[in-house]
């Protein structure tokens, strides 16, 4: 969708990411998804009288990882606050969150636009909070069920500046955050299970207007597609309203994915006053340098840095470098193979080619790849040293994949697949073939060079593919005096 001339759009996203910790943020209950309702809600999650929260250090560690990943500032002292509102799936009647002193302040990510240009999107802050439970409205016709399994699941709310100028930038940014969260093992990124949810703040203004327009917040978008559709609808709605001389009211809206429209949920006037105040049950969390140093040491190289390293020091083409560095495990596999084989470009071709296509075929992750980098390196070694032809290598790879081969070299040996580069073995074959096919031999000699392939093919057939085609070529030329 193009933004109509004369208008500009400002979008900021709030991304709620569930942190992939074993236990909840303030209790020891499990965070596993999909168990029987209320089976993993302990007294703390249920908001029983007299219970107290206790901060799960693992959640803090994940938040710090993210903060370091976006080059944000880690607050050495952060604090929790209570956000008060009533809802059946909010057991305590308040959510424990971070208002004044969030764990991460500032930071940025770089997104690539469709035209290939890059843009830096600034992050305002990222704070820790607890997720609410779920209200189940289709439980019984006249009743609502409450499932508190999700209550207390750690969330990192990542708030961006209104740097996003259209839906595709918003989606690119959301994907970049999604990528980073999963790359850093902060969040499992499973959108279907609600591990990542977006709130979009959208406003429009005339191109010459300096102040931001009146914004609407679209809550709880749980896929990239809904995010895009909701933004499209909202831009159109706001511009249409203003163009027709109407006035926009700041409000909170919900997106209806069936009708592809947003609907007002509440206006600014009726907005809840959350009455934030410092959580008296928790002390401010002080982080020492050693905690941050330990996390820094455990941080993987970020994909952007890794891609440029693949490009500059391993000599990969840009596209290959980005593809291979884009997924942490894939990058690890490639890098191991490149190191073991000493052939980065060849390794890249194998990984992005045969390996990835087989993985896709069987819907597997690189971590589930049946051929280890060590086994692959041995195969690559055989091709480099011309022990096997490219074609044979593919067959050996298939055998390794299917588990028919223990190692490339034993398989090649056992099946006699070594490339025959011995002229004494090939020469008699060529002489024999020229005698059997005099017509073709004459035509080739007369300049019908296509027939070269005919003879090479015959030799390959006779040697079950083990002959070195290059060598067959040379022998033919020599015999025919070409």
């Amino acid at each position: 969708m193009n933004i109509p001339t004369g208008w500009q759009v400002d979008i900021g996203l709030e991304i709620h990411a569930q942190l992939s910790t074993e236990a909840k943020i303030f209790s020891g209950a499990s965070t596993t998804f999909g168990n029987a309702p209320n089976s993993q809600a302990c007294a703390i999650d249920l908001g029983m009288p007299g219970v107290l929260p206790k901060v799960n250090a693992a959640a803090y560690e994940k938040a710090v990882r993210f903060g370091l990943g976006v080059s944000g500032t880690i607050n050495r002292e952060s604090r929790f606050d209570r956000k008060n509102y009533f809802y059946p799936d909010l057991p305590k009647g308040y959510q424990i969150t971070q208002m004044d002193l969030p764990i991460v302040v500032g930071g940025h990510v770089t997104i690539s636009n469709e035209d290939g240009t890059q843009k830096v999107i600034h992050i305002t802050r990222a704070h820790l909070e607890e997720d609410a439970g779920k209200s189940i409205h289709d439980f019984k016709p006249t009743q609502t069920g409450v499932d508190l399994n999700r209550a207390g699941t750690p969330l990192l709310e990542i708030v961006s500046e209104p740097d996003l100028k259209n839906a595709s930038e918003a989606v690119a940014y959301a994907k970049a955050i999604h990528h980073l969260l999963t790359y850093l093992d902060v969040c499992d990124g499973n959108m279907a299970e609600g591990s990542l949810r977006f709130d979009a703040n959208i406003s429009v203004r005339r191109v010459d207007a300096e102040a931001l327009g009146v914004r609407s917040e679209i809550k709880n978008l749980n896929s990239f597609r809904f995010l895009e559709q909701a933004i499209h609808y909202e831009i159109e709605r706001q511009i249409d309203t203003l163009s027709a001389g109407g006035v926009l009211a700041q409000d909170t809206r919900l997106f209806d994915p069936e009708k592809l429209e947003t609907r007002a949920m509440r206006s600014k006037e009726t907005a809840t006053d959350y009455r934030y105040f410092p959580e008296p049950d928790l002390l401010p969390v002080k982080i020492d340098e050693s905690f941050i140093d330990r996390i820094k040491a455990s941080m993987p190289e970020l994909s952007g840095t890794r891609a440029s390293r693949f490009e500059t020091s391993l000599g990969l083409p840009t596209a290959d470098a980005q593809l291979l560095a884009g997924d942490r495990s894939l990058g690890d596999y490639f890098e191991q193979l490149a190191t073991l084989s000493g052939q980065p470009r060849l390794a890249a071709n194998w990984v992005k080619g045969d390996i990835l296509s087989r993985l896709r075929e069987q819907d597997l992750n690189i971590s589930e790849c049946p051929v280890s980098p060590e086994a692959m390196a041995e195969l690559l070694g055989l091709t480099v040293e011309n022990v096997v032809s490219g074609k044979t290598a593919k067959a050996v790879f298939a055998a390794l994949w299917e588990g028919d081969a223990i190692s490339a070299s034993t398989y090649v040996k056992e099946h006699g697949l070594e490339q025959v580069s011995d002229t004494s073995a090939i020469e008699p074959l060529v002489t024999e073939l020229l005698r059997e096919h005099p017509k073709q031999a004459d035509d080739l000699k007369a300049g019908k060079s296509k027939l070269m392939g005919f003879f090479v093919g015959k030799v390959m057939q006779a040697t079950s593919g083990t002959a070195n085609p290059q060598q067959v070529n040379e022998i033919l030329r020599a015999k025919l005096g070409l």
Binding site: M48, P49, G50, V51, R82, P88, K92, Y94, V146
Partner: protein, 486 residues
Amino acid sequence: MNLRSATIAELRAHLDQRKLSAVELTDYYFERIDRHEPTINAYVTQLRETARSAAVKADKIIAAGQATALTGIPIAEKDLFCIEGTKTTSGSKMLADFEAPYTATVSEKLANAGAVTLGKTNMDEFAMGSSNESSYFGPVKNPWDTSRVPGGSSGGSAAAVAAGLCVASTGTDTGGSIRQPAALCGLTGLKPTYGRVSRWGMIAFASSLDQAGPMTRSAKDAAIMLEHMAGFDPRDSTCLTEAVPRYSQHLDQPIKGLRIGVCEAFFETALDATVATQIREALSILESLGATLIDVSLPHMTASLGAYYVIAPAECSANLARFDGIRYGYRCEDPQNLQDLYTRSRGEGFGQEVKKRILVGTFALSAGYYDAFYGRAQKVRRLIKQDFVEAFSQVDVIAGPTTPTPAFGLGEKAKNSVDMYLQDVFTIAASLAGVPAMSIPAGLVSGLPIGLQLIGNYLDEATLLNVAHQFQQTTDWHTLTAPEAP
């Protein structure tokens, strides 16, 4: 021995010498409960069965010669400590039928120490009150004069000990809820340093102020109880990690040379003249024991009541939001929709005083008012803390009255909140600062007990208890017992 006036220490000797068994002792208290409880109304729940089995177990431990200080000692617990499988009401209709699914750290520690819990004591609803009249389970009567209040909010805990319906009890103190009823019922009551005792399982009123402590017949008993209640608990993030001293082993230090601060502000305000005289008398006794009285000033103390009545309601407005009729507790009949479920469950489940404080707290935290109320109150709180830090650089203990008057009549202040709130005018500052403070019997005024308040430095409960014990070695106010209720 006269069981009626016996202390934990005395009962210990009797139990260990096998002069009576823990079961007999438990029976003795339940007989007294049968006789006096209809008048006093100190208990919400009596735990006869579990008490008996705990006593039987205690007798075995005693017989095996493995008794410790609290083995077989019959106590009562304020009804806001959760005990698994036991009704825990916090004095409210909201939780009238609530059975706790887990046990509070304090209750667990006392049970593990062999104490026999006779029952859960009556209290002001959600610990909000200074007279025990806001309880859903009816007011508690002061054993010294049953037409008067026992104080609050730990009124049931105080009356139970004073009426001889247990030997010691647990209370909680947010602004004076241990010290004021202890004073009004002639007991020794100690509010420890904030964080000294775990709050896990204690139904919250105001989280940053709530602190559990003992209510006993002597300073020595308070020391014994505190030893078993205090200590680090990983389940409470605000709990302090410092090791717990053996308070009861450090009660015999002479107080010669001890610097006792006297803050004249305590004597200027609402203090009753007769009470003032009695407190001055108590101070001179301390002086005669060799202590030096030194004037100290707590310049921001006058602002403490105002700050407290912003901070405590603000915290309670959030703490009590969980009582919404959804998961447990009172739910209104036939709710029409969610809003109706909320408003009627809370409207019908909470009493007047609780609702008033929730409203005050909600207002104080509202957008546009936060800075003027909550923000300013927190500033006052910091100044008060500073006052105490300053004062304790000059003195070891601060002494003064616990309450402005002795016990007042039932219904006397119920209509006037501010009058009621003034009951805590001397106790609140220590709560805001988080320093330990205790009340010990300091005489009778018109036949009613009054209390001397001793305030100590952070984590210096040992000094407080020692001073109190030394005072009790030369006075006998703490040994007086209330007349037997009809």
